[in-house]
């Protein structure tokens, strides 16, 4: 094998590697993008039920219900961005930093009844931290006032 052909083989293998990586990435992307949605977005145009997305907003004060049913805990609460709100139900352990008025992000999907079934609920490690997406969505709905403290009107 000549030097030139060897180089060609190496270039070919490289192109194959990079090409297959790109193909895998593009293929996986179309199915696995998880969009971030605010309660107002759902009110305006609800995503198809069953497709998972991330819902972000503030936990509405006084909306949290926790209980047990046949030895299994459940929790439900409303997530708001000041304009609209969505009822979220969740069967796991709520994070340590979960409390009313706090910004959270929930991963899950819409049920046929219009509620949101969460498979994961995230609150940040830091108690004062508001998820960036939640801040942006609150700004868009006009309910964010940086001078007014970390939790804008969540009474509803």
């Amino acid at each position: 094998m000549t030097r030139k052909r060897r180089r060609l083989v190496v270039v070919f293998v490289c192109a194959l590697g990079v090409g297959s990586a790109a193909a895998l990435a593009l293929n996986a992307f179309s199915d696995n993008l998880v969009f971030f949605v605010s309660p107002s977005d759902i009110a305006a145009k609800a995503p198809t039920s069953g497709r998972s997305f991330r819902l972000g907003g503030l936990v509405e004060t006084g909306s949290v219900r926790r209980g047990t049913e046949a030895g299994h805990p459940f929790a439900s609460f409303r997530v708001t961005d000041g304009k609209s709100s969505v009822t979220v139900s969740y069967d796991g352990i709520l994070p340590d930093l979960f409390r009313e008025g706090q910004g959270i992000v929930a991963l899950g999907h819409l049920t046929a009844g219009g509620g949101f079934q969460a498979s994961e609920v995230l609150a940040k490690h830091d108690e004062n931290y508001m998820p960036k997406e939640v801040v942006d969505s609150l700004k868009r709905s006009g309910h964010w006032n940086p001078e007014g403290g970390p939790t804008p009107g969540t009474g509803g």
Partner: protein
């Protein structure tokens, strides 16, 4: 007073770093031996100054000097002593100081152990390290000074994030940062080689121990971080494909590629330009990892400190360091003549394949991590790329990597016979096949594939050692001679490859984990994974700076008691925050794992996990790092031997 001394030491370190950047590089350019020889002393000076600064910060934290803003914001008089010490690098300012300190350690280490390097190369390497160092020290002085005072001092500090009050996280940053920063040395070697316009086998031999050391630290650091997420955060998982985790994985992937391609430079003088590019790329990923964690530009559940101004400074530093080195690369790379022709089926060919696959994995990880940022800036869409994407893209690339990993080491250099190599691995393939079939029978296709891959790696690593020592084919005494004569690097390779096999087995085991969320009254029990989990009691207990709620769970199997688990919830009144303390009982082959949630109507909400082979994930990483260290001990001995030294003509002229 101690704060001002620390501040002064930091400024002194910065000035010394500037001198360290200018004098040796200028001296090397002018071939002035005196200036070049000053490099190690300057590096030691910088190290002493920064050690003084770090010591001052630790001291201020230990004696709870709340007039120092950094201590007031992150410490508290009730905090246990260990966390007062380790807390100094748990916050933003302290972690940047730690970065700079480790960089200074690297410079001093090149000065101390680089006695066999040509004077000009050593001077340039230390100079480039000094240049990088002064960027970080300027950042520390201008944007994140840990020694700023507050007046009047608060009566008590604000305390640390309770999640950070944990031994795993106390030692995670120094180890991870040693890995990140350690790759500055191969980077400096690469830039120095570009300035000199010459790379030979000796360069590969010098750069490899440094890359290997950094790689060992990074491996341990990532494993420690993953272990912390597993037992402290209490989500029951070990890897979430979070941007911050990905940021540490990227330099690990390219660093692993670098460790392997440097072998080819050393043995065969091929892949030189590529190795230089990898060294630059790996350090670029280390820097951008720091940038991502510190700027909060990527949304992560692990981001502790977010500050846009600081992000911009680090981004500028990143652009300067990486941009200038890439420009240098573009100007000089064609002067690095390539040698060493080889056939595609050869040891070199296998190492090239390793590099292609590792870099492809790195490319998809970068794509998945950066795409949300790109989508927000360009498309205006808020989205995230979750674990399914990474699993779908990384897994198909890992399969050929694992398949090739056992074959590569038994191929010969230059030109090899694939059939003969495979014949030597027939029993590894047989064992892998049996394990795979057995697992497929019990658990399905993916775990079977993973277990087969794991067996292939572990037995393949053994097979290579058996092949080299001719076990059972030669008399036992000759076998012992052969074992004694085997280079430690060969054991190191086998150990590191087997370590990955152990980790893969752990990951496959974790994919079979089961868990349940239950609400139990004391006295009630539930059944999970063949065990009866009974909640015995719920009690209160005091802690040093928290109040604790303890659930006592007894585990039994077929009425035989197995273990008592006591998960806790710690309430920190100062931060008004609750942190779960997970209870884990392991026997090396499975973890029994329990988390206590909140209480409802007298019932405790518990999350119970049964995690088969979970400890193997981190054990495998430790074995990998151990293999790296073993191989390192071999190299150092060999580097010390005068015969291995090959002074290039240019350096000889300079001396």
């Amino acid at each position: 007073m101690i704060g001002e001394l620390g501040h002064f030491a930091l400024a002194l370190g910065c000035v010394l770093a500037v001198i360290q950047a200018v004098v040796p590089l200028y001296g090397a350019q002018r071939r002035d031996v005196l200036l070049m020889r000053a490099a190690p002393a300057l590096a030691f000076g910088q190290l002493i100054a920064l050690a003084g600064a770090a010591g001052a910060l630790v001291w201020a934290s230990v004696v709870s000097d709340f007039s120092v803003a950094n201590v007031a914001e992150n410490s508290h008089s009730l905090k246990p002593l260990l966390y007062r010490i380790t807390g100094t690098w748990g916050n933003h300012e302290g972690s940047i100081l730690l970065w700079a300190l480790i960089l200074a350690v690297c410079g001093a280490a090149v000065g101390a152990f680089g006695g066999n390097l040509p004077t000009a190369l050593r001077a340039r390497v230390i100079g480039v390290l000094g240049f990088t160092s002064c960027g970080f020290l300027l950042f520390a002085l201008l944007e994140s000074n840990p020694f700023l005072r507050v007046w009047p001092p608060p009566v008590d500090g604000q305390g640390m994030n309770p999640l950070l009050q944990d031994p795993g996280l106390a030692f995670h940053p120094p180890i991870l940062y040693s890995g990140y920063v350690g790759f500055a040395v191969p980077f400096a070697f690469a830039v120095a080689a570009l300035i000199e316009g010459r790379i030979d086998a000796a360069w590969g031999r010098w750069v490899r121990p440094w890359a290997l050391t950094a790689w060992c630290f990074l491996t341990c650091g990532i494993a420690l971080g993953s272990w912390w997420a597993y037992y402290e955060v209490g989500w029951g998982g070990y890897w979430f494909w979070d941007p911050v985790e990905n940021a540490s994985l990227m330099p690990w992937l390219t660093g692993t590629a670098l460790v392997h391609s440097a072998i080819v430079v050393e043995k065969r003088e091929a892949l030189k330009v590529w190795t230089v590019l990898l060294a630059i790329g790996t350090f670029a990923f280390s820097l951008s990892g720091t940038f991502m964690v510190r700027s909060g530009i990527l949304n992560s559940v692990h981001s502790f400190a977010n500050d846009p101004a600081r992000g911009v400074f680090i981004l500028g530093l990143l652009a300067l360091v990486i941009g200038s080195s890439l420009v240098l690369f573009a100007l000089r790379a064609r002067h690095l003549a390539s040698g060493g022709v080889f056939a595609p089926i050869s040891r070199e060919g296998a190492l090239v394949l390793n590099n292609i696959l590792l870099c492809s994995i790195c490319a998809v990880v970068v794509t998945g991590t950066m795409y949300p940022l790109f989508a927000e800036l360009v498309l205006g869409a808020k989205l995230s790329v979750g674990a399914p994407f990474f699993n779908a893209t990384v897994l198909p690339l890992v399969i050929p990597l694992v398949a090739a990993m056992s074959i590569g080491p038994v191929l010969s250099w230059k030109r090899a016979n694939l059939g003969a190599a495979l014949m030597r691995l027939w029993y590894a393939a047989l064992v892998a096949l049996c394990v795979g079939l057995f697992a497929a029978w019990g658990w399905g296709a993916l775990p079977a594939l993973a277990f087969a891959g794991s067996a292939w790696l572990i037995i393949g690593a053994l097979a290579e050692l058996i092949e080299r020592t001719r076990l059972l084919r030669v008399p036992f005494a000759e076998f012992l001679d052969r074992v004694a004569g085997l280079r430690r690097a060969a054991f190191g390779t086998a150990l590191a490859h087997a370590g990955l096999g152990v980790t893969i087995a752990g990951i496959a085991g974790m994919s079979l984990a089961s868990n349940a969320v239950v609400a139990l009254q004391p006295g009630q029990s539930t059944h999970l994974a063949g065990y009866d989990w009974t909640l015995i009691s719920l009690t209160d207990a005091p802690g040093p700076n928290y109040q604790s709620r303890v659930a006592t769970i007894s585990l039994s199997r077929d009425h035989l008691p197995i273990a008592i688990l006591a998960p806790e919830r710690h309430f920190f009144p100062l931060q008004n925050q609750t942190v779960s303390d997970v209870a884990i009982r392991t026997n090396g082959f499975r973890d029994l794992y329990a988390v206590l949630g909140e209480e409802r109507d007298g019932a405790a909400v518990l999350r119970l996990h049964y995690n088969p082979l979970a400890p193997w994930i981190w054990l495998g990483a430790l074995i990998m790092a151990g293999g790296g260290a073993l191989s390192l001990s071999d190299r150092r001995l060999r580097l010390g031997a005068p015969a291995a030294r090959k002074a290039p003509a240019g350096a000889a002229a300079a001396q």
